[in-house]
Amino acid sequence: MSKEKKFFSKLLSGLSKTRYTVTSRVEELLKLSGSINDELYDELEEILITSDLGVKSTTEIIDKLKSKVKEEKINNPSEVKDVLKGIICDILEESENKPYVKFPMIILVVGVNGVGKTTTIGKLASKFKNEGKKVLLAAGDTFRAAAIDQLSIWGNDIGVDVIKQHEGSDPAAVIYDAMQAAKSRKVDVLICDTAGRLHNKKNLMDELKKINRIIEREYPDSFKETLLVLDAATGQNAVNQAREFKEACDITGIVLTKLDGTAKGGIVVAIKEELGMPIKYIGVGEGIDDLQEFDPSSFVEALFGDVK
């Protein structure tokens, strides 16, 4: 199976019964009603809300849809959905989404607890290694029990080194060491793990700021990427997460994980709109190759359950 096919089939298998019923109701409406009516708009609104786009974004998008339908004199209800998809795609595509890569590169991976940072790092490391790059990992989560072991197991499986200290040590020191090692070993990609932290804990966010400062100071000639990992199942709180993490360490992109479940991750649309933060990768499983570059149009198709 080609990589693309595999991604689609993963997304397809992730579509819930609920999703099917919701979309088929829309299809029905599209077929039955000869005109574009409020009921159709309500159904579309429901799809967006239940995909976690949030009230504000949903309202704005539906308003935009209505005026576009009017402007372009669209009479055929079956075209409405495509217009809607186009609007969301435009939001997501607005700026350059493709991962822009230059080496040597340092990737700092941050996020709240349990979103899949360490797993994402394993997948990223494997991806770069397969591309023939020399990869090094830094075990910057010195807080959670056995987080260092978890990263070490990934490192071992993939065949990349892990710079680590003991649990409870200063994460900034671990990352400092890793940068020195990366420089002397001429590593192409250094990926730094960090402990999960809730964005409303000031001391933990300050710790992250410190780590960020050290990276900028000690490794200024590297290409720096700071990835915020978001769980696709997260609701409106993800906007707060994105805002606070952006403030602490200047996020350059989002990794949206666990898209192989029934959650649609629609909150990234709101985040893109509000904070202009691009989505770079999506996680679609627990396997080492279950990381994909983000593609707005397949994401939007999946949002509506229209995976072909």
Binding site: D52, V112, A146, K201
Partner: protein
């Protein structure tokens, strides 16, 4: 922020809904629109919101507006009551088996916080005199077993592991026999995170359930979960008939609407909450507190509560009668102030009133200390003076009052002036209030 604009919108709604006796359909509809938005913003599932709103609207229409509340506040009061009753009124703990060990199975999606919660729950139960054993059945995630071992040793609790090469069903079964042998009266079984649509993994967890017959099957849910919470909860409950829910990461700033979604689709109680990074950060879940967090109208709710508690309905009625007859005296002034005082800090209170713009309050600094002075001054007046403020035109009376209250004549003058302003306001009010006691906040304390 979204939340602030929501509060503002609500206040707009409140402004429109003033001074009516019974809640009519229009009142309820417009207030419910805001409630619906509030719940959706809090991540309560769309369908759950729809059902809830229509049910509550039915109850609200035609209900009497309480003496001390505006119709908008009355709607919120009803909404909150229904939310609390939906969340469950009581706290609920662990059901222990009569024949130990009690088996507690923790299940949920990846990253919900099961392993950490296994430790926290173990800590909580050992503090209650139990001897819990932590069993590591997550053989998939790298170092998950090690994580549970580390957590257990930090808490000085025993753990049971068989490595990651064994079937989780066998590990679970063996952990129970191990507990029996070692006199552990509780076994907390940590399992791998799994998607509810992963058939193989869901079958595995059913097999674990069948093998150990746990007294408690607790679904661990991240409190930041969005709309998908219903799908997850429905599927786990259908497969496993869970006995309860644990909400994690509640120390974040999410409104936690997932709690309501999960509760509403499963009907199972939320038993515990994870509230911090430390292994002692676990709390018995309080449904009523969660209701107001989800609704996000804590300020309005506490005003309603305070108003209900402290405003003496009879006195309010008497006062409004006096207001109409325009017989407002210093005694009433004092009385009114005492009632207001009971409600707590005035500035806080003012800020809580829907419809009051916070920027307006900048000029109306009400000093609680000042209130004490006013009280002293009024108490230093004779009965006659209090009834007939005109007597206070006399300078020597003022001097006596200042001496008696330990204040200065200027302050006495100020109080008299404030009183007169209050009287003026009363007159205006009485014009407005043809029918006394219909849903107005009868506290004219806006002195400058």
């Amino acid at each position: 922020m979204a939340f602030e604009s929501l509060t503002n919108k609500l206040q707009e709604t409140f402004k429109k809904l003033k001074g009516k006796g019974k809640l009519n359909e229009k009142d309820v509809k417009s207030a419910m629109r805001e409630v619906k938005l509030a719940l959706l913003e809090a991540d309560v599932n769309y369908k759950v919101v729809k059902e809830f709103v229509s049910k509550v609207s039915e109850r609200a229409i035609g209900s009497e507006v309480m003496e001390s509340l505006t119709p908008g506040q009355q709607v919120i009061k009803i909404v909150n009551e229904e939310l609390v009753s939906l969340m469950g009124n009581d706290e609920s703990g662990i059901n222990f088996s009569k024949t130990p060990p009690t088996k507690i199975l923790l299940v949920g999606l990846q990253g919900a916080g099961k392993t950490t919660m296994a430790g926290k729950l173990g800590q909580y139960l050992s503090k209650q005199g139990k001897k819990p054993l932590l069993a590591a059945c997550d053989v998939y995630r790298p170092a998950a077993i090690k994580q549970l071992q580390v957590v257990a040793s930090q808490l000085k609790l025993p753990s049971f592991t068989m490595g990651d090469k064994n079937d989780p069903v066998d590990i679970a079964r063996a952990s129970v026999s191990y507990a029996v042998k070692n006199n552990n009266d509780v076994v907390i079984i940590d399992t791998a995170g799994r998607l509810q649509i992963d058939q193989d993994m869901m079958n595995e967890i059913v097999n674990i359930k069948d093998a150990v017959e746990p007294e408690e099957i607790l679904l661990v849910v991240d409190s930041m979960t969005g709309q998908d919470a219903v799908n997850v909860a429905e599927a786990f409950n259908e497969k496993l008939d869970i006995t309860g829910v644990i909400l994690t990461k509640l120390d974040g700033d999410s409104r936690g609407g997932a709690a309501l979604s999960v509760r509403s689709v499963t009907g199972k109680p939320i038993k515990f909450a994870g509230v911090g990074e430390k292994l002692t950060d676990i709390e018995v879940f309080h449904p009523d507190r969660m209701a107001s967090r989800i609704l996000g109208m804590g300020d309005v709710l506490s005003l309603i509560e305070k108003a209900q508690e402290t405003i003496d309905e009879k006195k309010a009625l008497e006062l409004s009668k006096k207001m109409i007859k325009q017989e407002f005296t210093f005694d009433d002034f004092l009385d009114q102030m005492n009632q207001v005082k009971k409600m707590g800090s005035l500035n806080d209170l003012m800020a809580m009133i829907p419809g009051i713009d916070k920027s307006m309050l900048k000029d109306v600094k009400i000093d609680d200390k000042e209130i004490a002075h006013i009280e002293a001054i009024i108490k230093s007046m004779t009965k006659e003076e209090r009834k007939n403020p005109l007597l206070l035109k006399n300078g020597s009376r003022k001097k006596r009052i200042a001496l008696g209250s330990g204040t200065k004549i200027q302050e006495v003058n100020k109080v008299i002036k404030q009183f007169e302003e209050g009287q003026k306001m009363m007159k205006q009010f009485s014009g407005m209030m043809k029918k006394p006691g219909k849903g107005k906040l009868k506290l004219p304390f806006s002195w400058k």
